[in-house]
C-alpha cells in the first residue's frame, strides 16, 4: 500500500462503506476522539483570551498569505546567509527529486525522518526507495504505520486507528521485540531500542516544518517524543520539506501559534519538544541544511478568494477530533494524508478540483459546524465546503442530479407550482404509504429509506390549512390569550443583533 499521497483511490462514499464496517477501528477512533475532545475543551477554557488569540492567528496567517512572495524571498535570503541552501519545488515530483538527489549525493542508503505530513503528501518514502534509499520513520505512530505498511489516518496521530494489542503484535513481527504485554511503556521501549541505533548511525535526516521565520531564516518543528529533536541535531545533513504557507514574518508571530497549536492538537499547554534551527553552525548540529519550499498546488489555492483561508491551517487536527463524520468513517475514507474536515477542503483544492475522487470530499460533511468552532485559526470550513460544492458542480456535465435540482428550483420559485407539486406528491405517494409512513423509495432517495422511514404527505398543507382556518377573533378564547404580554420587550430589532 502506498505510504501516503493526496490522490484518493476511490470516492469517499465507496471508501467509507469499507471503513465504517471496521468494528475495531470504529471503537479505537471513538475512544480516541472523545477523549481528546474533552481534553481540548478544558485546555482551551484555561485561556481567557482564546477567542482573541484565534483572531490573531487568523490575521497573522492572512497577512503572511497576502505577502507570501516577499516573505519567501526574505526567508531564502536569511537561510542562505546562515549557511543553508534553499530549493524551490513547483510540485511533488520536483520536491522528491531534490531530496533524493541530496540523499544520494551523500551516498546515503538510509535516512531518518521526523514526523512530517508534507513528505507524506509528496510520497517521499516511495520515491527514495526507488533511488535505493530507505526512509526510517522515527515518530512512534509513523513508525507503526510504516511497519504495518499502512497509511496514516490522522494528521497528528497517524496510527489512531490501531490499538495497543495490534501494535504489540506488529512490533513482535517486524522489530523482533520480545513483548509480553501491550503496556505503553514496554511498546515505547521496544521502539526506542530500535530507533536509538538509527539515530546514532544515520547521516541524513528529513523533516517537515511547522513554521519558518522569514526575518531570521529559522525553521521550527513542534513534537512530543523528542525523536524529532534527535533527527534535527544528530545527523550531518538535514533536509526540510516545507509547504510555502508555513512562513511567518517575525519571531513574535511564532509565539501566537505556540499558544494556539499545542492546546488545539494534543490539548497540552505546551508540547514537550520545540526545536528551532537557523542555517548551520560549526560544531553544533547538522553541517549541511537544505530547505525545500513546496508549492504543490498552494499558489492556486491562494488565488481563490474563498478557498485561500484553507492555507491558514497549522495542522493541529482539532477539526478531525470534533468531526462526527471523521469519528465514524475514519481517516482512510478520505484517501489522502489530509483527512477529516480540513482534508475535505484541502485535498481537492491541492488537486486543482480536477480529481474526480477528491471532488467527492466536500460532500463528506453534514455541515454541523463543529470544525469551524474548534479551528484555532478560524478557517470557516463549512463555508469552504459549500463553496467548493458549487465550484465542482459548475464544472460537471449536465446530469440527473443537476436536472432534479434545477426542476426543484423552478417549482419552488413560484408558490402555485410549489402547491401543485405538494398535491401531486400527495396523490402519487399512495402506493408507497403504509401506516402513515413511507418505508421504501426508489433510486437515490432509497439512500434515505434504507435506514429511515419518511413521513407521508399529510392531507392538508400548511397553506391550505391557513386559508380555511377561522380568523383568530372568531375562535373560542382558551383563557391564555395575551399571556406573557406584560413581559414584552420594546420591539427594537436593531438591538437584538
Amino acid at each position: 500500500m502506498s505510504a501516503g499521497g493526496i490522490r484518493p483511490a476511490r470516492t469517499f462514499q465507496k471508501a467509507a462503506k469499507v471503513t465504517l464496517a471496521n468494528a475495531q477501528m470504529r471503537r479505537n477512533l471513538r475512544h480516541a476522539t472523545t477523549t481528546i475532545r474533552e481534553k481540548r475543551l478544558r485546555a482551551v477554557a484555561e485561556l481567557p483570551d482564546w477567542e482573541a488569540l484565534r483572531g490573531e492567528g487568523a490575521d497573522l496567517k492572512d497577512f503572511a498569505m497576502a505577502n507570501l512572495g516577499d516573505l519567501l524571498l526574505d526567508l531564502e535570503a536569511a537561510v542562505t546567509s546562515r549557511g543553508g541552501q534553499v530549493h524551490w519545488a513547483r510540485d511533488a515530483e520536483e520536491a522528491r527529486e531534490i531530496v533524493a538527489r541530496i540523499a544520494t549525493s551523500h551516498g546515503a542508503r538510509e535516512v531518518i525522518k521526523v514526523k512530517s505530513i508534507s513528505t507524506d503528501e509528496i510520497e517521499l518514502n516511495a520515491a527514495l526507495e526507488r533511488h535505493g534509499v530507505h526512509a526510517v520513520e522515527t515518530d512512534l505512530a509513523e513508525l507503526i504505520v510504516q511497519l504495518a505498511e499502512d497509511r496514516p489516518s490522522h494528521i497528528l496521530v497517524p496510527a489512531i486507528h490501531r490499538n495497543r494489542a495490534e501494535i504489540r503484535d506488529l512490533f513482535r513481527r517486524r522489530l523482533g521485540a520480545e513483548l509480553l504485554t501491550d503496556d505503553p511503556k514496554a511498546l515505547a521501549e521496544a521502539a526506542r531500542v530500535y530507533l536509538r541505533g538509527k539515530f546514532l548511525t544515520t547521516k541524513v535526516a528529513v523533516s517537515g516544518a511547522n513554521f519558518a521565520v522569514a526575518e531570521s531564516g529559522t525553521v521550527c518543528v513542534v513534537e512530543s517524543e523528542g525523536n524529532g529533536r534527535m533527527c534535527v541535531t544528530m545527523p550531518d545533513v538535514l533536509v526540510t520539506v516545507m509547504g510555502i504557507e508555513k512562513v511567518l514574518p517575525t519571531w513574535q508571530d511564532v509565539a501566537v501559534f505556540l499558544r494556539l497549536l499545542p492546546r488545539s492538537s494534543t490539548a497540552e499547554r505546551m508540547n514537550p519538544y520545540t526545536s528551532f534551527w537557523s542555517g548551520v553552525r560549526e560544531g553544533d548540529g547538522p553541517r549541511e541544511f537544505h530547505l525545500v519550499l513546496l508549492d504543490g498546488g498552494r499558489t492556486e489555492v491562494l488565488a481563490d478568494e474563498v478557498g485561500r483561508q484553507t492555507l491558514r491551517c497549522i495542522r493541529c487536527s482539532a477539526c478531525l477530533n470534533v468531526c462526527p463524520v471523521y469519528e465514524r468513517a475514519g481517516g482512510h475514507a478520505y484517501g489522502s494524508v489530509y483527512p477529516g474536515p480540513i482534508g475535505a477542503i484541502l485535498t481537492p483544492q491541492l488537486l486543482h478540483l480536477e480529481d474526480a475522487n477528491a471532488n467527492t470530499l466536500p460532500w463528506a460533511s453534514s455541515l454541523c459546524g463543529a470544525c469551524y468552532d474548534a479551528c484555532p485559526v478560524r478557517i470557516d470550513i463549512p463555508e469552504v465546503l459549500l463553496y467548493l460544492r458549487g465550484r465542482i458542480n459548475e464544472e460537471k456535465p449536465l446530469n440527473a442530479e443537476a436536472v432534479a435540482f434545477r426542476s426543484a428550483a423552478w417549482v419552488m420559485s413560484e408558490p402555485h407550482r410549489f402547491e401543485g407539486a405538494i398535491k401531486l406528491a400527495r396523490t402519487g405517494q399512495g402506493p408507497l404509504v403504509r401506516d402513515g409512513a413511507i418505508h421504501a423509495l426508489p433510486g437515490l432517495l432509497g439512500g434515505w429509506t434504507d435506514s429511515r422511514d419518511l413521513p407521508a404527505f399529510p392531507r392538508q398543507s400548511f397553506r391550505e390549512w391557513w386559508r380555511t382556518r377561522p380568523a383568530p377573533t372568531e375562535r373560542p378564547d382558551d383563557g391564555n390569550a395575551g399571556l406573557g404580554e406584560g413581559e414584552l420587550l420594546a420591539p427594537e430589532r436593531e438591538d437584538t443583533r
Partner: protein, 247 residues
Amino acid sequence: MRIDLFITCLNDALFPRTGEATARLLERLGHEVTFDENQTCCGQMHVNSGYRREALPLVRRFVDTFRDADVVVAPSGSCVGMVRDLYPRVAEWEGDHALLEDVRAVLPKVFELSEFLVRHLGVEDVGAYYPHRVTYHQTCHAMRVLRVGDAPLRLLSNVRGLNLVELPAVDQCCGFGGTFSVKNADTSTAMLADKVASVMSTGAEACTAGDNSCLMHIGGGLSRLRSGTRVVHLAEILASTEHEVYA
C-alpha cells in the same frame, strides 16, 4: 406586534401541524400573525448541495416577500441559519450586489422561534402544558450558526407537567445534513444510529428540537426501529395547553 410567519417548505408540505402550532402560540402571546402565500423555500437545500445559482431566485423571492415585514419568525433553526449566515455570501459569490443590499435590509428582521421568544420578546414561560417525559436535541444550526444557546431549554423548563431529561452527547450532529443523508447514506446512518441510541437511553416518550429536518431524520430512525419513541417539534409542545393538544 405583527409577525410574519416563514413557515418553511418542509413544514408547509410535510409538517403543517408545526406551522399551526407556531401561529397559535404567537397569537396566544398576543401578537397578530400573518402568512404571506408568496413564500416558498429559503433555498437551503440548493445551496448546501452546491447549486447556489439555482438558489438565487429563491433568495430573491424570500427577500421580496418579507421586504415590508416588521418581524419574520420561522420554526426552523437551519432555514433561519441559511438566511442569516448564507444569504449574504450567496449574493456575494454570485456577484449580485442589488440582492446583497436587499438581503442585508431584511436579515435583522428574521428570527428562529425560540430565540425570538426568549431573546427578543423576553418570554420564557409561554403558558404551555405538556405532561410527558421529553428529551431535547440541540440542532447544529441553532447551536453553532444562530447560537440560540439555552433559549429552547428555558422555554421547555417552564412547560407545566413536562419532565425534561438530558440527552447524552447533545452537541453531536444527528447526521442529516440535507442531501448528505442520501449521498453519504452509510456515514449518515452511522451518525443516526448513535443519536437514536442516545435518545432511547433517556427513556423519553418524545424527542424534541426546533427543526423538523433534524427531527424527520431522528424520527425516521426511531420509527424504522419501532422504538415507540416519537419526535415532536418544540413549537407543538409550546403551543399545547390543558385545553388544546398539539402533539
